[in-house]
Amino acid sequence: MPVREKVKKIVAKVLRVPEEKIREENRFVQDLGAESIDSVELMAAFEAEFNIEIPPEEGERVQTVGEAIRYIENKLKEKEEK
């Protein structure tokens, strides 16, 4: 499954939002209603699903679904190159 789809599935599950309503431009806090504790859970879910490490200060900068997809794709690419 592509990163895009996996990210949307995780966001839908953690934030309890229908998957089909999630758009890449959606902001986690303002549009999807993520509280700080949801964001902590989201970061952990991304780390577990993609087997990557997200430093908290980098995770905090990711504001939208699209940014999360691109951040994870870059992380996976970096991992492959190593």
């Binding site: 700080s36 504790i37 902590v40 859970e41 970061m43 952990a44 780390e47 577990a48 430093p55 908290p56 200060e57 995770g59 905090e60």
Partner: protein, 424 residues
Amino acid sequence: MKICIFEDDKYKLLYPLSLTRPVFDLKCGYFTLRERISGNFSEDICYLLRDYLVPFAQKKLPKAVFNDPDFLKSDDILFINGRWLLGKGELCLEGEEEVGVYNDTILYVRTKKETIQSHFSSQFKFKTLLFSLNQIEQKLPHKEFNNVTLITYPWDLVNNNSKILCEDFEYTGKKGIQGSFSPQAAIYGDESKIFIAKSAQIHPFVVLDTTEGPIYIDEEAVIYPHTRIEGPSYIGKATHIFQANIKQGVSLGPICRVGGEVEESIIHGFSNKFHTGFLGHSYVGEWVNLGAMSTTSDIKNDFSSVQVYIEGELRDSKQIKVGSFIGDHSKIGIGCLLNTGTVVGVGAIVVPSGEVLPKFIPSFVWYLKGKFYKGYGFGKIIEGTKEQMKRRNMEMSEEEYELLREVFELTKEERNQLIAKSRR
């Protein structure tokens, strides 16, 4: 003769409380163990403690001497174990070179200058200094003690609190009502067992019950209506009590905000337990927040002895009543249910899951929905802490920041283990 108050190698048994402070800065009664020991002597004092604690300790006590071999080599020294709950006149300054021992633990070492000079190098490191002290100890005659109080585990402080509160009331010698005392407030029991400091306020519908022990209410403390306080207890400076049921054996403050039910517990400065909820047989560090309705269990349903997480494993406390031990800067969310003998580290963020919390929550972790997370990391927790300090017109010093950073590193492994386990 000079004095040296030292930490020995058992400081980990007092984690998480001793992660951010030397063991002798733990409290029992009205005072810290350090204040209790130093109050016995008028001589100059040097402190021997873990190296990473020194800068912040120095910040708090700018004139004090820490881990200084030159000080130790300059005179005869009476080394005193900082875990000793030393009573008035319990230890004599003068005497022969000897080692006081209790249950294989050094209580004190009385040494001549020449002995120290031949064993101590010029190294300022805690471990080196402690090693030198242990070498001296092996060469001097031992004197066994049977009836002393040595603090080994956090519950030792809690269990001794009532007795020490009574002794401290006698020791300070202060009695009477100097502050404002509403005509609608009442004293139940012996009035001579009360001290209310000049700037303290007792509002209407407060009951102070001295039938089981004395009550000391310190400067600028405010006791708001519908509060009952039982002695022995100590309400520290500028501490505010709201609609509370304070039972025996409680030491609070300074500058705490406390409501709900509290029994046999010690709370360090700047911590809040503002609302309803029970805190029993517990020890709470500085800048902790216990949210509304958060509650500790201090006894098991089957009345068996309580297991407590000490040095990486659950150990039998051999105690029937044990509450929670909560490190500095931890935040316990509303409605958290703390299991009997729970240990919460430093700077932890705890969100209730509806169930009883795990018995061990490591430092700087986020616990939510039954799992451990790294959360937003160290930086974000410090940001929150700084905001909390601003509310009390305080600022985090560079020294405290570095101390917390060190504690973050020291506790990394236990934190990461539980976070990884939560992912499985």
